[in-house]
Symmetry: C2
Subunit: 343 residues, 2 copies
């Protein structure tokens, strides 16, 4: 920049005003500066700007895994809102692991992002989130809330969604219904939802239990199967489908899990919905073209990301109102994967 200033025969300050389009500059000078900048191939240094202004016009986003279509869509929603407001995004994957998440957040903070969007790896162990708040950076949680963390969050109505999805199965006459999630949990099966690391899953479990209970099924918590990542979704599904008291219906906590279940069923030669009824969260591509089509609870994924980014930008701009939790509606897409049990 000082080269440009020299070439234009003005001071650095004036060049900065012309280049940065602020303060008062005469037209003649502006032209000269811009001309010189162009001639010299001037490239602004956003870091230096951040150093002196304290603002980076950058948002950070921490997702579980960008390859998961859910996160890809939410990220896109956030990126669009951010771009429209003149912010860019630094992306990190947490792999749903607290340590990895801590590192990611550390990096983003060191890079002086103006605010952070995070799908918390844990809704219970919130140290990483506190770090953000302690650093004085606005934080918006999406997909999951976190206990006792003073931050906005944008989530979907998971409990009612799960209830509705499960009722479909109960009403069709199923009693042996399994809820499958990859979320980790100290015990293999469900114990207490408030210790489940992912609040969205906890809510789905609650909705599942609600519907099971309403259907008069005893000990519904015995039907909740977590830690599917450890065992492998297909393996777990196979086990549940071929055990002593085989399940006749499955609620998959997300579309990736549903895909594993679908494959396992096919591998076992089981027909959906004749031998197995299957419902899931998220209207992934494949659920519509698989045969039969899978009945799903669709979430407004883009909106989750977009809304989160909007809230964050508002905070970055100084909104000091108390934290809010926005709950977005889910909606059911009925296809052909539910039928009465055959046995």
């Amino acid at each position: 920049m000082s080269d440009v200033a020299a070439a234009a025969g003005v001071s650095k300050a004036t060049a900065a005003r012309a280049l940065g389009d602020y303060g008062a500059v005469s037209d003649a000078v502006r032209d000269r500066v811009l001309g010189a900048a162009d001639r010299l191939g001037y490239r602004p240094n956003a870091l230096a700007k951040t150093m002196s202004t304290g603002r980076s016009n950058t948002l950070g986003i921490v997702v579980g895994d960008i390859e998961n279509p859910f996160f890809a869509q939410a990220t896109r929603g956030a990126a669009d809102v951010a771009a429209a407001a003149g912010f860019d995004l630094i992306l990190s994957n947490s792999d749903e692991d607290l340590e990895t998440e801590a590192k990611a957040i550390g990096v983003q903070l060191a890079k002086r992002v103006d605010g952070l969007l995070v799908a918390a790896a844990s809704s219970v162990e919130t140290q990483n989130l506190r770090t953000v708040i302690d650093a004085g950076r606005p934080l918006v949680l999406f997909d999951r809330t976190a206990q006792g963390v003073e931050a906005d969050s944008v989530i979907a109505a998971n409990r009612s969604g799960a209830r509705e999805l499960t009722s479909l199965l109960v009403d069709a006459g199923h009693r042996q219904i399994a809820f499958i999630s990859t979320t980790t949990h100290p015990a293999d099966a469900f114990a207490r939802t408030d210790v489940l690391p992912t609040s969205s899953v906890a809510e789905r479990v609650e909705g599942f239990l609600d519907a099971m209970t309403a259907g008069g099924i005893e000990h519904p918590e015995r039907h909740v199967h977590l830690n599917a990542r450890r065992e492998g979704v297909e393996r777990m599904a196979t086990r549940l489908l071929t055990g002593a008291d085989p399940v006749t219906a499955i609620v998959a906590s997300d579309s990736l899990i549903a895909l594993g279940v679908f494959r396992a069923a096919r591998e076992l030669g089981l027909q959906i919905p004749r031998d197995l009824s299957l419902v899931a969260f998220d209207d992934a591509d494949w659920t519509g073209v698989a045969t039969p089509g899978i009945t799903v609870m669709a979430q407004p994924i883009h909106e989750i990301g977009a809304e989160a980014a909007e809230l964050l930008i508002r905070r970055v701009r100084g909104d000091g109102r108390p934290p809010v939790t926005r709950v977005l509606k889910q909606h059911l897409i009925e296809r052909e994967s539910v039928a009465p049990p055959s046995r």
Copy 2:
């Protein structure tokens, strides 16, 4: 940092050495500094560091659309390699638009990324890419090469892949075979591959033409249909499937296009493969669970991203060898979507 230095009773320089783990510091001092930093909740400022060292330990990546599973996977591959080497990623979507891409690249450059990974919106109009090179930043292209740009690239063997995929159709006896791509082109149908904006698609078109010609089909270029985004993939497929001389087989340039074709066929009540044979690039989730399964040419997508990141990091570290183009193998996954034409 100067607070920490003061609290530890040392100079800023010494505190920096202890905190930054470089230079020579006595154990006693290091402990005191680290202790003070901890107590004061010191957070390093990566920007300031970049300002003085000139290195940001950040890579930029520009993709067409992070929601596209291809880019999500490639991004993940790159992110993993980057993270392992201590780099983080700034992500931008170009929407396959040159202006948006220019902005994205401008931002990344201003943020002083150490290098840039880009899936060029155009392999022909390479001004945006030159900008990167002129700024003296290492550039690695992935998925697509760019004419006359001195940069490494990592691509897949698209021409041979397309040839193989098309041959399946030709060998099954098809003559009315359409190649569909969303890539834009001045003319509606194919004219010259060297003006196609996306080199990967250009190569696929060439492979398609190779196989068509080898199969003795005249004017194969009349079978290439571009600009599908403008018309809409489903609409175009419907048109091709119901016109005067309806096609009996389709080569979809990517899995998103194949999905549109699949839906259009179903809408029309057409059975695959009886009424329509369909092959596509990329082993997307749905292609394996749709009925029938879709025969695809799988690309090593993760590797494309990972390899690109590796090359880039090597360049960032000073590797000055002439640019290389890495061509990764594709592999065929035969499923049930190909059969002889029924008419």
